[in-house]
């Protein structure tokens, strides 16, 4: 038994758990919530082994059904796939937070399906990260998307359904673009296995359809990642969903697009069949615009969750810009920011959820002065805020520093300045938020007399905030996974 044999279980475990949760849900939401938590802890424990293995011996794979690649379906665990560990770990934090949060927001009979959907979502995201097959990427992406649509709609009635439907229509078009891209690749190369496609593209194909395929796939992933001009579905969906779901959507589901983009880069760089410079230049510009526009739009929001949603758009801009600058430092920073942003955004959304849960208000004006009544939550919010701005002792600093270094390394100093400018704008709106929470007098009695949330909500939130601080000091750990993978991927940049 090797670690390769464990790979299918990383997907199968949460999915089996989802079915079991639904079946046992009749015994009440507590059973369902507890079961979901146990399953996720088991999944996390299972993910530790492959991650250590990849750190020690490098990538490995598993052929489903015993059919060797390129004929069978292959699961491949490489350095990028180490992302499954923080992914599962964040879910472990989010589920206990949901236990109490759901009581006030979701009808009793919908709570068991909520946990089942969450598990389905987690399993599909893990599957997306470890599959080495374009068509499987499509299938897993669809499962992630479908469960996300349902999770957005689960809480409310009309308004939530309308936000979910907008998300669904745009997401479905993006999925079809992806399937069209996969079809093009398949027709061109007769294969959907990533490594095989890379080899066959390198052997030489007609450049025009190949470029079309790449463009289709890239567009699809960028819609899923909500890069700036393609972001319209995101704010509504993320703001209206229940807070734990917003954390999942903003922290992780958006990153599925980024992981897809990374796979696409591996394919394009590996085959060297394309001149990626033009695409990269476009993405760098779009990324820079996304950073600034996202920050501007976040600045004018009063609703705390809308603000966080726009901040996600800005941060996706950072990641894409880092990847597209294509210098080692920038790409390392960009990929590491996938992980760090997930951590920070989960922290922020959980804290925002706690504020909304305890007071019933969601705008900054209404929430002003809440820090006195809820010191823990406000402290979490503050740590999350300074992390996302990228002040030194926190998680956000390391990646932004790397991306900025990378901009200079790629001789594109202008984009380094765009990054700093974006960080300043982000700083402005988070200062506004902290100012409201800490220093303004309370407007409502409900805020003045708010009680701190129960420990099952407080503990995950504080742990996440602690992780933000720890990752600032131990920033080298994710980098040690990202670095070999990125250096493998990028062409033409020597060590």
């Amino acid at each position: 038994m090797t670690w390769g044999d464990a790979l299918p279980w990383l997907v199968a475990l949460p999915w089996t758990g989802a079915v079991a949760t639904l079946a046992l849900g009749a015994r009440g939401p507590r059973v369902a919530g507890g079961l979901a938590w146990i399953v996720l802890i088991a999944t996390t424990a299972l993910a530790v082994g492959p991650v250590l293995e990849v750190a020690r011996h490098g990538p490995f794979s598993y052929a489903l059904g015993g059919w060797p690649a390129p004929y069978g379906v292959e699961l491949r665990f490489d350095h990028f796939s180490a992302w499954v560990l923080p992914l599962a770990l964040l879910f472990v934090l989010i589920v206990p937070f949901s236990w109490r949060y759901l009581e006030g927001t979701i009808p009793h009979e919908r709570q068991a399906p909520f946990y089942a959907l969450l598990l389905l979502n987690a399993g599909a995201m893990i599957g997306f990260t470890i599959s080495a097959d374009l068509f499987n990427l499509f299938v897993f992406m669809e499962v992630v998307s479908l469960s996300s649509y349902a999770l957005v709609a689960i809480a409310g009635r009309g308004l939530a359904a309308w936000a979910a439907l907008k998300y669904l229509l745009i997401g479905a078009v993006a999925s079809m673009l992806m399937l069209l891209g996969v079809t093009f690749v398949f027709v061109l190369t007769g294969s959907v296995n990533l490594a095989d496609v890379t080899a066959r593209l390198a052997a030489g194909v007609d450049p025009v359809p190949a470029a079309t395929a790449i463009a289709l796939l890239a567009t699809s992933f960028l819609v899923k990642a909500a890069l700036f001009p393609l972001h319209v579905w995101l704010p509504d969906a993320h703001a209206i969903a229940p807070s734990p779901v917003s954390a999942v959507l903003s922290g992780m589901v958006v990153k599925i697009g980024i992981v897809g983009l990374i796979r696409l880069y591996q394919l394009a760089y590996g085959s060297a069949a394309f001149e990626m410079a033009g695409v990269n230049m476009l993405l760098v510009w779009v990324g820079a615009i996304a950073i600034v526009m996202g920050a501007f739009l976040a600045m004018v929001q009063n609703d705390i969750k809308l603000m966080l949603a726009y901040s996600t758009i800005s941060n996706v801009g950072y990641i894409v810009m880092g990847l597209a600058l294509a210098s080692p430092y920038a790409a390392i920073g960009g990929v590491a920011h996938v992980f760090n942003h997930a951590l920070i955004k989960v922290t922020l959304f959980l804290a925002a959820g706690a504020l909304i849960h305890a007071t019933g208000f969601r705008t900054l004006t209404d929430l002003s002065g809440v820090a006195r009544a809820m010191p823990y939550t406000a402290a979490t919010m503050a740590i999350g805020a300074i992390s996302i701005v990228g002040l030194p002792p926190t998680a956000g600093f390391v990646c932004k520093w790397y991306i900025a270094l990378g901009a200079f390394q790629a001789r594109q100093a202008g984009f380094g300045f765009a990054l700093v400018f974006g960080a300043l704008l982000i700083f402005v709106y988070y200062v506004r938020m902290l100012n409201a929470l800490y220093f303004k007098p309370a407007l409502h009695d409900a805020v003045r007399n708010a009680t701190e949330v129960p420990w099952s909500m407080r503990a995950p939130m504080l742990l996440a905030a602690l992780a933000c601080l720890v990752m600032g000091v131990l920033g080298g750990v994710p980098l040690s996974f990202v670095e070999p993978a990125v250096l493998d991927m990028l062409p033409a940049w020597g060590p």
Binding site: F135, F138, V139, E142, L146, Y149, A150, A153, R157, G158, L159, A161, W162, A164, L165, L168, L169, A172, V173, S175, M176, L179, L180, V182, T183, F186, V187, G190, V192
Partner: protein, 102 residues
């Protein structure tokens, strides 16, 4: 071509049901393209009996399209369920009227 028709329907139609139908047209277009990619002129079905011989048609696209159809059905089901919910709450499924609703 069908793909563009579907895309046009999603963008231009204001009725939500018609948007979903547009989505289905688009999906069908992609599936048709994908399934024909397995065809080889004069090929036999890929089932080995005494009567068939190489060249065989590629069975892989059919498997992929089948999976794709399942995904499409699930997508349509979720979309229609959401539309039912919207109709129950707002009494309309026209986008123009929904925008005016708070």
């Amino acid at each position: 071509m069908l793909f563009s028709v579907g895309l046009y329907m999603i963008i231009a139609k204001s009725n939500l049901i018609k948007k979903v139908l547009g989505l289905n047209v688009m999906q069908t277009a992609v599936f048709a393209l994908l399934v024909t990619s397995g065809m080889i002129d004069g090929a036999d079905p890929p089932i080995r009996t005494a009567a068939t011989s190489a060249p065989f048609a590629n069975p892989l696209p059919q498997a992929m399209v089948l999976t794709g159809i399942v995904v499409a059905v699930a997508l349509t089901a979720v979309a229609l369920a959401l539309i039912v919910q919207i109709h129950a709450d707002y009494g309309t499924i026209e986008v123009d009227e929904l925008k005016e609703a708070p």
